[in-house]
Symmetry: C2
Subunit: 220 residues, 2 copies
């Protein structure tokens, strides 16, 4: 009984996710679902990304949090468009919540949508929101064993951002081991070591985003 | 339908949790359910705790992970008794898994049991495992807004460990703000700022553990 209900919930989610995907593709927008633990630096990455790219790429952010609108406010302070979703206790976003947020956004001319998921390295991995790519973010302060211990989200993602490089000299984190264990789990991962604090490595991330957006514009 | 099934699952969990609690109290053991995000330092805290306290307090650790037995191996290298639970995808431990782990432990003479939950600041907050106290751990590298954004686990916990104090000079984390927002959510929280790397502050944590264990020994 329990299993059947969960399967039904997932099937309903996938149906709405496909609808979201159709809406976003029709608008010409590339969509990212950004996943990490709490405090790995998702919002800081988006603050910098919005500040750097929003003049050249029309973009918007959907912020998923259990409670508060702190993150949407941070994005707006960088001049970005942001819609806040509060899950009221739920540990991940679902496609229906993203659909409600899409209804609040003017999609005309939108080229990039970033959905910042609830801080959780586990549950968001199982939910399609209608994105083109999941992007997983870890920070070097979390150690180098996260891909081994939480493999699902690394399997599901197209890119891995390794944040807080500025703290690497003070941490017991083997960056090469972190990268190679992630790539063993998913050899297709694009890997971007960055420091959202110093800016190191962010140009590579911006370049990848520009490429994804440019490819979406081409007729397929 | 979905809600009713979830309610049934939680009720079944609570029943088994009460049984675990009865078993542990009968044995005279104090039990902690340690919760944090991935990479905040739960296992490192337990490595140091086991190395320091295991000669004076008979203790054991139940390690909860989605996959791998890396954490149980780390505890055993410190001379601790450890049972590994793999949740095979699940984002939190449930009471039935702890009951199975208890069956693998010799409880005679046990005085302290620490259950290290799956790395997740959200879902474990809702599941009683039969512990005497939840203890939540955050690290200063995660920023100072975690109590505001993930309040449930702070409400449910008796103690808050703030780890990675050694990295505080390199982080944008306001330690006073972190403490005060946690205490606004739960004024009864015992707060232990520590560095599991340098050892700073750990004596206060060990002292609190000794007190809890000593109080359990007294006839109630």
């Amino acid at each position: 009984m329990e299993i059947k209900v969960v399967a039904n919930v997932l099937a309903a989610n996938d149906m709405i996710a496909e609808e979201n995907r159709r809406i976003l593709r029709a608008a010409g927008a590339y969509a990212i679902n950004l996943v990490s633990s709490p405090g790995s630096g998702k919002t800081t990455l988006l603050e910098r990304t919005v500040a750097t790219l929003s003049t050249e790429i029309p973009l918007a952010v959907i912020e998923g949090d259990i409670t508060t609108s702190l993150d949407a406010e941070r994005i707006r302070r960088q001049g970005g468009r942001a819609v806040q979703i509060n899950t009221a206790g739920d540990c991940h976003l679902e496609a229906r919540q993203v659909r409600e947020a899409l209804a609040q956004l003017d999609l005309a001319g939108l080229r990039l949508l970033v959905i910042e998921n609830v801080g959780n390295l586990v549950c968001p991995a199982g939910y399609d929101l209608g994105e083109d790519a999941k992007v997983v973010l870890v920070s070097v302060t979390e150690g180098d064993d996260k891909p081994l211990k939480y493999p699902h989200v690394f399997v599901e993602s197209k890119a891995l951002i390794i944040n807080k490089l500025d703290l690497l000299p003070y941490c017991d984190c083997d960056l090469a081991a972190l990268k190679s264990s992630a790539l063993r789990i998913n050899p297709k991962l694009e890997v971007f070591p960055v420091s959202c604090r110093s800016g190191e490595g962010l140009e590579n991330w911006y370049g990848w985003l520009r490429d994804q957006v440019a490819q979406r514009r081409k007729p397929s």
